[in-house]
């Protein structure tokens, strides 16, 4: 083997090692979070941990149910607001707008994705929360406020992935449908949507993941009370804000319980990611 060849094969190996960096980071994160979070779950009892209503760390009572329900409500609310708007926007961009308009709007949507979540939270605090308090009553810091802000925050994810999958539908499908006399809207609804379905579902699932995982914006506008909300106007605490709020001063078992909260969040996110991954794979096949 010449020197040059040896160098080449060394480089190949080095690059392979580097290429596994992302995977190894993922593995290390999984191991650390689970290692730190599971002991308390085992000790306290997994069922009790997940379904107990009381979270009083000072009295060693760790029930996550209010936060689990809080996360589910807020995420569902975000989807109710984000999905129709997002899909409408995607359809408009691919089917009803000129190429030039699309070139202007797409970077703007990316910009919307780039705005830091604290800024969204802040907008919620100074505009949306007072508005809800005055018009609908209640404390303002609520499920409703968080759902609206999260709905806006997941728009870019939903729009960009749906646009990609709508654009990936072969033009012949659309042309064929229009040639059969279908209107634009009929074509969109009966041809384009079914053809792009898996991509659209993936976009919704990824948006869902983003809504569940969002922390800073939610802390600022959800009110963070540890109770199952009775209406949309009640304050709520999510899994993520539970971690972020108490991490600063938690120690010992309390801290472990927060890591356990992280484990639950992590598992939910991984399930969602895998589903999104599988659905979008199927589209390519």
């Amino acid at each position: 083997m010449t020197r040059l060849e040896r160098k080449e094969s060394l480089i190949r190996i080095a690059l392979l090692v580097v290429a596994f960096s992302a995977v190894s980071v993922l593995v290390v994160i999984t191991v650390f979070i689970i290692e730190e979070g599971t002991p308390i779950m085992v000790k306290y009892g997994f069922k009790k941990f997940l379904f107990n209503l009381d979270w009083f760390p000072s009295e060693e009572s760790y029930g996550l149910l209010p936060m689990v329900i809080g996360s589910i409500m807020v995420t569902f609310g975000a989807l109710v607001i984000g999905v129709p708007f997002g899909l409408a926007c995607a359809v408009f961009l691919t089917e009803f707008s000129s190429k030039r308009l699309r070139r202007v709007i797409k970077p703007m949507i990316e910009l919307l994705a780039g705005i830091p979540s604290v800024v969204y939270g802040f907008m919620g605090v100074v505009i949306l929360v007072p508005f809800i308090r005055e018009t609908l009553g209640g404390p303002g810091l609520s499920v409703l406020a968080s759902s609206i802000i999260l709905g806006i925050m997941i728009l870019p994810t939903i729009i960009s992935i749906s646009v990609d999958s709508l654009e990936a539908v072969p033009p012949a499908y659309r042309e064929g449908s229009i040639a059969l006399g279908a209107t634009r809207w009929q074509t969109t609804r009966m041809v384009m949507f079914p053809a792009a379905r898996s991509g659209i579902i993936a976009s919704i699932i990824l948006g869902m993941g983003r809504a569940i995982g969002e922390t800073m914006a939610v802390i600022m506008i959800a009110g963070n009370a540890i109770a199952i909300p009775r209406s949309l106007l009640d304050p709520v605490r999510t899994l993520t804000s539970n971690i972020a709020l108490e991490m600063a001063y938690a120690s010992g078992e309390h801290r472990q319980a927060l890591f356990a909260t992280g484990v639950i969040l992590f598992v939910i996110i991984m399930i969602l990611n895998t589903i999104a991954n599988v659905t979008s794979k199927r589209r390519k096949a």
């Binding site: 992302a22 922390t215 802390i219 993520t240 991490m247």
Partner: protein, 257 residues
């Protein structure tokens, strides 16, 4: 509608924040927990954290992309790598924060520091870097490589002398996007870099970034006007990042597409 929301946010923050901005606001350190003074130390903190994170993540990201595009075919290895990167991209920042806290801050005893914060951020931006670099490298026409091989160069020479220079604008775009993400990141940074207001002196000192500062100011109601000012700087930074990305991308696209 979406665009309206965007304009509303930008307009609102800038309208309230721009009057607060002044040369003095940018160049004095915060006083009384941020009630008075400016945001100088948080700007430095943000820059230090972001630059370190990119320095750590860029070689890893670009290396991975080179391997995926130039050195292998699609097989189970690339599938595992891609799946890993995609999952990593979907993990919420609070989980990164927990992980960074347990590994860097406590286990490795880096404490709340720029080092811990930037390592955590580096992991967060890695998937973006891999994806954008990969796309950029794939966009380089295959002929370029063939010509280089026909001149007798090795694979590595081809990669460094031909492929990477042509893919550079695309790679830079990815780096700038990650810079944008790092600037806006709060949840993970607050647990790993801490929130000290002093001017950081080394990568082992704790530092507060602009977004953390903004969060604390707004949440604890310390000073609304300073919060607006910080938010305006954040928004301006993100705007600038996006504009530059767009400009570079545009030029890149025109060259190859």
């Amino acid at each position: 509608m979406t665009i309206a929301v965007l304009f509303f946010i930008i307009f609102f923050i800038l309208k309230k924040g721009l009057p607060v901005l002044s040369f003095k606001f940018l160049t004095t350190n915060p006083g009384e927990m941020g009630k008075t003074g400016g945001i100088f130390s948080t700007i430095i903190g943000t820059i230090a954290l972001t630059v370190t994170a990119v320095l750590i993540a860029a070689p890893l990201g670009i290396g991975s992309a080179i391997y995926l595009t130039e050195y292998t075919r699609e097989n189970w290895v690339t599938r595992v790598i891609r799946f890993g990167a995609e999952c990593l991209a979907g993990i919420p920042s609070i989980i990164f924060g927990l992980f960074g806290f347990i590994l860097f801050v406590t286990k490795l005893k880096f404490g709340w520091s720029i080092l811990s914060g930037s390592l955590t951020l580096a992991f967060m931006i890695l998937p973006t870097l891999i994806r954008t670099s990969e796309e950029a490298i794939r966009a380089v026409p295959y002929v370029y490589r063939e010509v280089s091989y026909s001149l007798g160069s090795t694979k590595w020479q081809t990669v460094t002398k031909v492929v990477l220079p042509s893919a550079m604008p695309g790679i830079v775009t990815g780096i700038i996007l990650s810079v944008g993400r790092s600037i806006g990141e709060t949840a993970s940074v607050i647990f790993t870099a801490g929130s000290a207001l002093r001017l950081p002196t080394s990568i082992f000192s704790s530092s507060r970034t602009m977004s953390v500062h903004f969060y604390i100011l707004a949440r604890e109601g310390i000073s609304m006007s300073n919060a607006y000012g910080t938010a305006a700087i954040l928004i301006l930074a993100i705007l600038a990042v996006n504009l530059v990305t767009y400009a570079i991308m545009h030029r890149f696209m025109r060259k190859y597409c």
